[in-house]
């Protein structure tokens, strides 16, 4: 049951690289939240109940509900719906994404170690790389935010792969991470929107040499 979920997750990542509409981004982040929730339930059933509850509630609350809701709110507020075409064309983005996938697969394949589920690592790495690529090729702050969330989700996915072994600190860290993402969305929502009246990253280039 986990494998289809993971595959679906990968598909969302690929889709992220080619889509250009912010609403789609927000939906996909939401979908990833649900997938992660599913994986958490399936993967972590072995650990004791309170922690399982904690994690699943956390995932449900933040990743599936709050974050997508905030994203949608931002879109509504700023009335910006598409990425700027100035970044890179869809094809190039897809190419980069495929490259990242290839790198992730190479590295995963080279890790001849059955210690953990290798697939998780590969997918997480792919997620991190696609998040970075997303940040690099798209120039709007919204896409940067989404890129960060993708990285976040990737790390979360991997943490569940190892989570059975070291739960407590992982939980704290994940919680902090999620808080940060929410906080950033908050800053984005409250401050930058107000002050700069645009979510264009190009306007955030005054601080340089």
């Amino acid at each position: 049951m986990i494998l289809p979920l993971v595959i679906l997750y990968v598909v969302t990542l690929v889709y992220l690289s080619i889509t250009e509409r912010f609403r789609t981004y927000a939906s996909i982040i939401g979908l990833q939240g649900w997938i992660l929730f599913g994986v958490a339930l399936l993967r972590l059933h072995r650990i004791d109940l309170p922690e399982l509850l904690f994690i699943s509630v956390e995932t449900l609350l933040f990743k599936t509900l709050l974050v997508p809701a905030l994203l949608f709110a931002v879109i509504r507020r700023t009335h910006i719906h598409r990425v700027r075409t100035s970044g890179s064309s869809q094809f190039n983005a897809l190419l980069l994404s495929v490259g990242a996938a290839a790198a992730a697969i190479t590295l995963t394949a080279a890790m001849a170690d059955g210690n953990i589920d290798r697939v998780f690592f590969g997918v997480a790495l792919y997620a991190v790389l696609s998040g970075l690529i997303l940040i690099v090729v798209r120039s709007r702050i919204f896409s940067h935010m989404v890129g960060f969330l993708v990285i976040e989700n990737g790390v979360f996915l991997f943490s569940m792969a190892v989570g059975t072994e070291m739960p407590f600190l992982i939980n704290v860290a994940i919680l902090l991470d999620i808080m940060i993402s929410v906080l950033m969305l908050g800053i984005f929502f409250m401050r930058i929107g107000n002050k700069l009246h645009a979510d264009d990253a190009d306007s955030l280039t005054n601080v340089k040499d």
């Binding site: 790198a103 190479t106 790389l129 940040i135 798209r138 120039s139 990253a201 280039t205």
Partner: protein, 661 residues
Amino acid sequence: MFPYLLTALAAVAAAIFGAPLRAKAWVALAVVAAASAWAGSTAIGVLADGAPRILWQADGFLLGGGGGSMDTLSALFVLLISLGSVASVLYSHGYLAHSLAEKSPAHVSLHYTALTVMALSMLGVATSDGGYTFLFFWELMTIASFLLILYDAERRETVRAALAYLIMMHIGFVLLVAGFATLDRACGSADFAALAGYFAGRNPLPLFLVFLLGFGMKAGLFPMHVWLPQAHPAAPSHVSALMSGVMIKTGIYGILRVTAQLADLPALRTAGLILLGCGIATGLWGILLASAQNDIKRLLAYSSIENVGVILIGAGVGTLGLAAGNDTVAACGLCGALLHTFNHSLFKSLLFFGAGNVLTQTRTLSLDALGGLGKHMPVSALLFLAGAAAICALPPLNGFVSELLIYLGLLDGIAAGSGVPAAAAGLAALALIGGLAVLTFTKLYGTVFLGAPRTHEVAESTEVDRVRIAAMALPLAGILLVGLFPQAALDLVVRAAGALAPEAARGTASLPPVMTAVCRTAWLLIAVTGLLYAVKSRAQRRRIRRTGPTWGCGFTAPNVRMQYTGESFAEGLQSVAASVAPRSGEGRAVDKSELFPAAHNFDAEHKDRIDALFAAWWVEMLRRINRQMMRLRTGKVNHYVLFALLFLVTVFLLSVFNLIR
């Protein structure tokens, strides 16, 4: 040792910063004089009994040793440094007096602190055993001298020159680090003494070359001399004197120290040839460019390069003598090199002080704007003349004694039939250098001090204060002492040479009679000349003496602008040596076809070809790289993250292709 140094530095800085503006020079002088007196007396003690003294013992945790000791070689350099530093600080009082009001007191304090630190660090360099302590003092000396050059930091040229100096010194420093680190890795100690062990076991040439380049950077070895002619005109004159007269000698010191550790005969021979070759190139290049210069201090700077060349010729001859087992040649070469080092510090200080006098009294250093200063500043002119004659190695002054020793080494080598071609090359170069030095310094002295003043300001200049004259008298005393009593000087350098090579000390038996004869000749020359002058004056007293205008060869309306300028004086040589020092300049000279020339404005300048070599391609390359790098500064978050992605990809690819393991 370092805690004491810390306390000393803090105390000196506090004293100088706390002193009133005019008294800062005296505080610095007191400190430098005290240190010099102590170091000098120790040095004299060492030279007297020949036994090395251990001065301090620092625990060495880095690059081997941290000890300091003084053998006879160090003692000679300590003596030289002490004299030069005291004279410079003494001179600075009067030299800076007129500019104190324009500067911030903090800046003046900084200058004097740096001056003191410079003197102390040079003493440290000359007495360190090697390794960390040596490098420490070496770099301290560099940074102190850098701050000293910056006295007129408002001027852009000054800053540029100081920076060029600093960068070149840093390159030299890294080379020295390379040398000491290699030594440390191989022998477990980075003392100079450990070099002997290193050289004995391995191919000594690479390390020797690394040290030669590293020290050569400081000494102004061709083609690494380019900083000298830039830094000296930029620096205040007492600093030029200190740097040119004393500091570059630390480079010589290092080269000699390293060479002395070579024991293997073929290696010695190669080293000797390298030194001789470097000396010939440096000397000729220096004098050819010196003769072309039209700025007093630039000219003096090139002349320093030339003298470094002469010193290296001496060192090369001495080394070749050692290699050939000819003790006399070795003794002559090494003693000559050492004595010339000492002598050069004397007359070059004197000449730079003289240039400083000219600058403060006339506000210009351009040869072709000066003239006739001899009548307005008679004492300075006389002192400068002594320096000029000494640097041309004319008897009966000190330059002659040291060059004679080097020549003797060359001639003895030829007479003994060992290494004849090399010696002949050295001889020819030295002869040409000597001849051109006369040309250069007659040009300098003649255009600046003789004839009629070319500008109004020059005509109104006056003599400098007594303190400065006293500061100049200090090196003059040395010049006369060495020139007129060469036996004593020889005795001194023979002991110093003994620390370099014991064989050399054995080969000096034939030298004392020569020195006695030189002494006799010198006095005879003085006596004959004095007698002739006295007789002439006496005879003329009874005759008619009239004053009339200079014979104009029939031209009835001569003016002061028609005098032969420095540029025209050296034109004959420049037509031969145009490939070395191409003339560039603004304006156009009068053409041959112009029968009735209109007004022409022509400003000639002679560039050093090596300058272009150093400035051109790699600076341009760096600038281009820099410009490309600047494209990265977009301020975009995308690109910030792009760096990370690129980094990951690079590491990934490098690992995949096994480029990093």
